[in-house]
Assembly symmetry: C2
Homo-oligomer: 444 residues x 2
Amino acid sequence: MYISKSFIPILKNNPSEAKIKSHQLMLRVGMIKQSSAGIYSWLPLGFKVMKKIENIVREEQNKIGAQEILMPTIQSSEIWKESGRYEDYGEEMLRIKDRQNREMLYGPTNEELVTDIFRSSIKSYKSLPQLLYHIQWKFRDEIRPRFGIMRCREFYMKDAYSFDISDDEALFSYNKFFLSYLKTFKRLDLTAIPMAADTGPIGGNLSHEFIILAETGESKIFTDKRIFDVDNEDTKLEKKSLENLRKKYEQFYSVTDEKFNQEEFEKKVSEKNRLKTKGIEVGHIFYFGDKYSKPMGGSVDLPGGKKDFVKMGSYGIGVSRLVGAIIEAKYDEKNEVMKWPISVAPYDLAVIPMINKNDTSALEKANKINIELKKNNIESIIDDTDENFSSKIKKMNLIGAPFQIIIGKQSDGELLEFKEIGKETKKINLTQIIKIIKEQKVKN
Amino acid sequence: MYISKSFIPILKNNPSEAKIKSHQLMLRVGMIKQSSAGIYSWLPLGFKVMKKIENIVREEQNKIGAQEILMPTIQSSEIWKESGRYEDYGEEMLRIKDRQNREMLYGPTNEELVTDIFRSSIKSYKSLPQLLYHIQWKFRDEIRPRFGIMRCREFYMKDAYSFDISDDEALFSYNKFFLSYLKTFKRLDLTAIPMAADTGPIGGNLSHEFIILAETGESKIFTDKRIFDVDNEDTKLEKKSLENLRKKYEQFYSVTDEKFNQEEFEKKVSEKNRLKTKGIEVGHIFYFGDKYSKPMGGSVDLPGGKKDFVKMGSYGIGVSRLVGAIIEAKYDEKNEVMKWPISVAPYDLAVIPMINKNDTSALEKANKINIELKKNNIESIIDDTDENFSSKIKKMNLIGAPFQIIIGKQSDGELLEFKEIGKETKKINLTQIIKIIKEQKVKN
């Protein structure tokens, strides 16, 4: 893609209204545009990143056997009256009257709607467990939306729901999601720490938040980075394996700044393995038994002829918020350099030819390179403008494709100036460049 | 996927409330579930089909150089007041007051919002043309929602917008979309007829509807099926080629029952090439110049230093409606047999082993077959229940995977009973079956 044809409206300076890194960068490189308070449009650069995150989330849900559905954004108030949450939910729920004067609402979460789907579809224990998820827009009418898409009103979220016959089976489902969350965040190149959490308005008695390590988070976390390597764990989808996995990861989960015992922690963890930082919540999982199935009549036939209410859990990931969370974790604000993890990068590679009116040979070379890149499924953005060199580099450092090829006047024959953002420039040929990028892509 | 583990709630009989084929089938096999009047949840079977349609629409938009963005569902009333449509739009617009008492609305279409994005981002003719699209939920508060997802309130739509410097360039953009629509519908195995249309509330002076041939449509269409073969056309993305293409396809576009001259038509078209049927609108494209850019101040700098308002068009495809349209075109209601085009089929293949309590050898064989299918990226649904043979076939005929393997007691060695729905059963080996299915998939 030529940058001159792309819809990437870049600002010269940081927008003054943005107080945190992710908000600054997203406005600066035109990833988003605010359309009204707490409501944003996603422009091509932001959209590409969010879509890649969405697909990783989807793949990891599918791997644990969850089935994708899609519930509507607008819900009837009736089911919320059945569960008893319609009055409780407060002003964050966007309440709507349709032309027939029926009370509707824009769904802030979907426990009621999915319970309604379940109760009309599944009648027997033989069809359990069921794990259903959807990825859909939600609305929470925040009184003071701020920090761009980190605390906005309309946001994109994956929410999953599990239905089981007993507490024991339900815990197995819960642990499957626990595993899939560790794997999801790992693929996004994030360290996500599971912490015991309050269940809040969702209710229930078991809950974990997944917190991303980033400087601008809301609370301090101390942890041992050695334990956060899910690739080296026993991750079979079996009860015992998953229970052990969760227990292991829970060792450190409650070390918030209030409860944290520094002395105890020092004993356990050596300096070089210690992470200390402020966290951002990107996922939240809940087990709440029959809190919704009971008032709404979601029961199944048991083996002996009796009936029982199904045991449910719910499992959220903030898909749009993750775009911001990755920026908070990866953006070097001081040097104005962003490096996207290759798994979600809007482009794999930036090609930066030096162009002036009398000499377009570098652009021609860039075009030839791009033909080879395309054959290898490497997506590049080419700066085809005649701006000066430093302005081009600055722009590409903000856009954040993790690799760059620079084609200058001295560019000689087969060898190209190639760099991974944040590392030294090397002179290597295109075949080697393609190999390096492909290896990174496979790994992620 | 085992049918016993899937979330496919099949009804024994046709639901009495459904009056048209698509509504009947979608409720019958649990593709959708109504949650309130004109608002539906998409269950796994329906979701898979819709997602495949969405991806085909996306690929064809990308091929003509359109860039994907994502605008929010909730819009501010202010931009609609700027364009002058806020009062005009009537009660189909779902109007909302947020907690701060601001006037908001659930977007029924996005001309205003995309013009707002454009005017704040693009300043020079050098950045034109721009083709932007998004695929997003829309809401139209129909007074009498009916026919399932064919005339509902919350629906999924692709809408694109073009921005050009002159009428001539804008027509080129219009023709690019015209081409991409012919290609999109062809890949869905639909015959879509472009017809000159009223511009309605969108406005403007050039417009085409794309009408699907199906028995239960709203108007009669006569046409010559020979001309609807975009694969054999000159489809270069060049002004002249595309203008010729549109002109050619327009030859028959206005032959509705009112204006149609039967005698003229008989002369031109031989009996075997003639199609006569009743159509469903699945796409609508508009050219409206500066209708929105002028009142909203969407202008760019021209070469000589002057400014001018950009010329815009908009281009819609009803993504969720297409699921219904395909059923209307393909479902044999009398024999209760659906055959999905392989490009959007929820499963490529149904595997139907005969199972009873004492003999599960057929199921074991099905599992072995499925391993080979997976290796070849062929997605199957296996009926692992011990229901009787005719009930299994009936179910799979409704689900509509285009191919079936039947593993009966007489199933001998290498040869398998294989059929494409609607054709004769053959006895061939698995290698041949895989070859047939893969060839079909590539073609589509």
